[in-house]
């Protein structure tokens, strides 16, 4: 296979040939090629279609600013829509497809839009599709949505992995062109830690695309030598294929390294890309400049590209985009393209210099440029047959990252472009073309100066090598008035000069209105080539200056970033870490079903052989517990060790009820409010010593409660003698409940735990199994005679096995969170559904626990009228009148016969279970004035399912209301 447009030279490895396909057609290229350079070498100019008009398009650039040459790269689950062919590194076997066309790139049916362009002006959709009203969602919008977008998503899981990481340095240099290289060299030679990052796979920036000399070597060779010197410095990190995407606060930069994108697939275990957070108090933006085109009629044909890109393809990649070319420029830099191409033996048929009054006024060639028409200073027109046209409208410094903190760039009339202003992210300096210094020598000088300034380097500045230092000679030209066709500004979104004119006509003259109304700059290139032209034209139309017209806001990321990269490893099962309980491995052996509770995996129930429905398992666990004894892993409850001579006084402040009076060796249920008087959390707290308490929290609030206690300790009462430490994971804790709980525990506990020795609400340090330190609390969530026993976590598994083995005569079972839930609802204990952050102690029937005799968090504001309304919600128990009736948590209470409207809404069911003991569904609920409705009948209605059940309102204590069992 030949590459007809491949010419001599370039930084490609011609000794190796890479095979690839585009739209199924095989081509070849070489290492060092991009997909775009390789396609151009093969004579392929047509690479894409535009968004709105489906105009045939080829690349206009040789970099990440590319709006046109977007392809679907790779296939299957790795399909990557909207990939810029101009930066996609060629690899053997690369597959690419064109997008946004049907049935084919050359013959795209949707190109009908181009014929109808007179109707599809900026914002036309805001003015139509309104009649008839029902047609919008049924007809018009589906039509619009079908046409939306460019590339398509695979819908399969991305098979590649992504990493994240953190880097620190003294100086981050963004961009490895002459300015960046010089900055890194200056800092590196001074011994500072430097990171030099460049989005390209080859460092050197424009030096690779130009024929300039630095000193007495070619610019590209100087770059390579400089890179080699930097690579020899251990404190310098060179990062190619690494785009800095944003400047965030306080010297944190985001950067994306494309580790494996130049390979067919990443090596096993290796990531596709890495998101680096780079911490650097000093950084230098040396991101260069982006050339901008000039708008003229039909300036969007494949083969028309930026003059600098045309020369980059020739110099760096050895590719002539066409055999016959022309150049259209308003500045000296465009002339370099003509000179370089001529030197490469390409036929340059015309150089159109607008400064001489010459302009291009039209072009021809539907699928690729065939000819241009020019008009000279005297008004004469001529046509030339060409395959490529290089256009240069001047260069825009890449101020983007410098503006990420919303600093506005300032207008520099000398180069007719915006340059970074005095404000910007603290610590970020700008050098080289990014600073508006467009010569090579200027880049070297400002790169060196910036590094010295950033790092406060003293001593004489080094001698800089000789380099090109031509002045910028430009006479701004934004669009050519002559000519009849549309003149594109934003090629991808098909925004043309006439759209800007319409925006002006309709008074969308603010630059933000211009952008939003016409979609200028909203395409995947974010207007890197087109924005300034658009606002310059608006400035002309409104009679304002360009700086008065201003720019829109620059936002991260500098170049689009794969979402997988930003997520890193946190996806799938690794989205969040797991927390496993001490009995997890035992439960796994038993075939337990687990449930996510926050990060924890808890045993939900443990099916036994023959059980086919989860209810069978749960009912069995409940009944066995209530009949004999059950064990439940409650390690997930938060445990906080609270010590100090003021520990008791501290607890009095943070709990609504009193703890300073709790005797040593006892525990008490505690209710914790937020300062706004709403219940925050609950749990039991035990006093293990004069100055030592251990608090338990709910599983969900363990972290928040600890944080809150630290706030109280450090910010509110800093002189209290209180020390806090979490011990949640240090102890494996099991609830042992049921009539035989004591008998079972007596098999493992070394001490006397008779009712007399260890009465209800006793707590203390004990030993088990012959001397292992442990803690025992006689508390009950289930309503049974119950204890919680804790041992150091490593012994938790063994203690569980030991209890089951030694207590085998009692047929102990291990129950999960479902059975736990059943028993607590039977007892009317509040939990998740009731502790909803919206309910007061009064709502829960615990109003009397809020002591007014002492100051505590939330005490005062809990007394507000809205929170003490006698008609407000109260916790109630609920059962169906017909014992076969079904209840659903979340159903609302309605009176019998009441219409299902909000005015009749009396409350809702917070938690529902099936009570195997009672033989029917039961629930807890918040009911308006519920305390006065005990015994009444009403309905629990679930309008989502149509369930409508007559219920009786009960006290929430539906099982053993006198509490005889737990004291047994």
């Amino acid at each position: 296979m030949t590459q007809p447009n491949r010419i001599a030279g370039g930084q490609i490895d011609r000794t190796r040939t890479l095979r690839f396909t585009f739209d199924g057609i095989p081509y070849t290229g070489h290492p060092g090629d991009t997909l775009a350079s390789a396609l151009l070498a093969n004579g392929v100019r047509l690479m894409g279609r535009s968004f709105k008009y489906h105009r045939p398009r080829g690349p206009i650039s040789a970099g990440s600013e590319e709006p046109n040459a977007l392809v679907e790269l790779r296939s299957g689950a790795r399909q990557e829509p909207n990939t810029r062919a101009t930066v996609a590194e060629l690899f053997d076997g690369l597959e690419a497809k064109s997008q946004n066309r049907w049935p084919s790139l050359r013959l795209d049916a949707m190109a009908i839009n181009d014929r109808l362009n007179a109707f599809f002006t900026a914002g036309f959709y805001y003015k139509t599709f309104m009649w008839p009203r029902s047609f919008w969602e049924r007809v018009y919008e589906p039509m619009i949505r079908r046409a939306a977008g460019l590339g398509s998503v695979s819908r399969e899981e991305d098979p590649d992995a992504y990493d994240k990481g953190f880097l620190h340095c003294d100086l981050l240099v963004i961009g490895a062109g002459p300015a960046g290289l010089m900055a890194a060299l200056t800092a590196g030679r001074a011994g500072r830690r430097v990171i030099l990052a460049d989005e390209d796979f080859r460092m050197g920036g424009r030096l690779n695309a130009e024929t300039f000399a630095i000193g007495n070597t070619a610019g590209a060779d100087w770059a390579a030598a400089t890179v080699a010197e930097l690579a020899s410095m251990p404190h310098v990190r060179l990062m190619t294929r690494t785009a800095v995407i944003g400047a965030f606060d306080h010297g944190i930069y985001g950067a994306v390294e494309r580790v494996s994108d130049h390979l067919a697939v990443p090596p096993p275990g290796k990531p596709r890309q890495i998101l680096w957070r780079i911490y650097s108090q000093r950084a230098i933006l040396a991101g260069g400049a982006t050339e901008r085109p000039i708008a003229f009629a039909n300036n969007d044909r494949p083969g028309i590209m930026l003059a600098g890109a045309l020369r980059a393809y020739a110099n760096r990649w050895g590719v002539a985009a066409g055999q016959r070319v022309a150049v259209f420029t308003n500045n000296d830099d465009g002339l370099r393209t003509a000179a370089d191409l001529k030197a490469k033996g390409v036929e340059v048929v015309a150089v159109i210099d607008s400064r001489k009054g010459e302009v291009v006024i039209d072009t021809r060639g539907r699928l690729g440029l065939k000819a241009i028409t020019i008009r000279d200073g005297a008004g004469r027109t001529r046509s030339f047959s060409v395959e490529a046209l290089g256009v240069s409208g001047g260069w825009n410094p890449n101020v983007n990252i410098h503006s990420h903190h919303r600093a506005r760039p300032v207008w520099d009339a000398a180069i007719a472009a915006f340059v970074p202003g005095p404000e910007g992210p603290p610590g970020l300096l700008v050098a080289g073309a990014a600073a508006g210094v467009l010569s090579t020598h200027g880049a070297l000088r400002t790169g060196c100066d910036a590094a010295r300034a950033a790092l406060d380097l003293t001593g004489a500045a080094p001698d800089l090598p000789q380099a090109e230092d031509a002045p910028v000679r430009i006479s701004p030209l934004w669009h050519v008035d002559h000519g009849r066709g549309r003149a594109w500004i934003d090629q991808q979104n098909d925004v043309t000069v006439k759209d800007v004119k319409l925006a002006k006509q309709e008074n969308f003259t603010s630059v933000e209105h211009l952008k939003r109304y016409t979609t200028l700059g909203m395409a995947t290139d974010q207007g890197k080539t087109g924005n300034v032209i658009g606002l310059a034209i608006m400035a002309e139309l409104t009679g304002r200056s360009i700086p008065e017209t201003g720019t829109t806001i620059y936002r991260p990321p500098y170049t689009p970033v794969a979402l997988g990269t930003l997520a890193g490893r946190s996806r799938g099962k690794e989205f969040k870490p797991y927390r496993l309980t001490p009995s997890h491995y035992w439960a796994q052996e038993q075939g337990a079903v687990f449930v996510e509770v926050g990060m924890w995996l808890r045993t939900q129930w443990i099916p036994k052989a023959g059980e086919t429905e989860w209810r069978q398992s749960v009912d069995r666990e409940v009944l066995a517990t209530r009949k004999s004894v059950g064990i439940c892993d409650v390690t997930t409850l938060g445990k906080i060790d609270i010590q100090g001579t003021d520990a008791g006084a501290f607890l009095d402040r943070v709990y609504a009820n009193t703890f300073s009076t709790l005797p040593v060796g006892k525990c008490r249920y505690g209710l914790m409010l937020r300062e706004d008087g709403i219940v925050f959390d609950d749990g039991t707290t035990a006093r293990l010593g004069e100055h030592e308490y251990v608090m338990t929290t709910t599983t969900a609030n363990a972290v928040a409660v600890f944080r809150h206690l630290e706030f109280c300790r450090q910010c509110l009462w800093p002189e209290m003698d209180v020390q806090l430490i979490s011990t949640t994971e240090a102890w494996a804790q099991f609830s042992v409940a049921g009539p035989n709980a004591r008998k079972l525990l007596e098999k493992v506990v070394d001490q006397d735990i008779s009712d007399a020795a260890f009465p209800y609400m006793a707590a203390g340090n004990i030993t088990v199994c012959g001397g292992l330190r442990a803690r025992l609390f006689r508390i009950s969530f289930s309503g049974e005679l119950a204890y919680e026993i804790a041992v150091p976590t490593r012994y938790g598994d063994a203690l569980l096995r030991e209890m089951l083995a030694r207590g085998a005569e009692f047929d102990p079972i291990v129950y999960g969170t479902e059975a736990l839930g059943v028993m607590r609802v039977e007892k009317g204990h509040v939990a998740g559904g009731e502790l909803n952050g919206q309910s007061t102690a009064l709502n829960m029937g615990l109003g009397r626990m809020v002591s007014k005799k002492k100051d505590s968090i939330g005490m005062v504001l809990s007394q507000r009228e809205g929170l003490t309304d006698p008609e407000g919600y109260r916790l109630v128990g609920v059962k169906p009148v017909d014992r076969n009736g079904k209840l659903t948590a979340g159903s609302h209470f309605l009176e019998k016969g009441a219409a299902p409207v909000a005015a009749n809404d009396l409350g809702w069911l917070t938690s529902k279970v099936y009570s195997p003991h009672l033989g029917h569904d039961i629930a807890l609920g918040y009911l308006k004035a519920g305390d006065r409705r005990i015994g009444q009948r009403m309905r629990a209605v679930n309008l989502l399912s149509g369930q409508d059940t007559e219920v009786e309102i009960l006290s929430p204590h539906m099982f053993d209301p006198e509490g005889e069992r737990l004291r047994g």
Partner: protein, 94 residues
Amino acid sequence: MIIPHPILGPRDAQEFVYLGDASLIDRPDGMTAGIEEFHDYLYQRTNPAGEHQELWYHEQGDRSWLVVTRNTVTHEILKVELARDVARARGRTK
């Protein structure tokens, strides 16, 4: 953001949990103050565009509560103190 911790030096703000205005230190005494005073304490905020004293908790660090003086427009951090020291200076005791 990076918070210059008074003990530990620069630390990534990701390690911290934010609470809000440092006036939350000035909790009234519940035995003497009434609902209105607590209302103003808990709910009303100056919310300045500019210098703001605010509470950050070093949850993934040393568990210190800090009072950070930060510009809410530029995010520049002007001062960082241990909240406990600030609380004491404001006369808070037991």
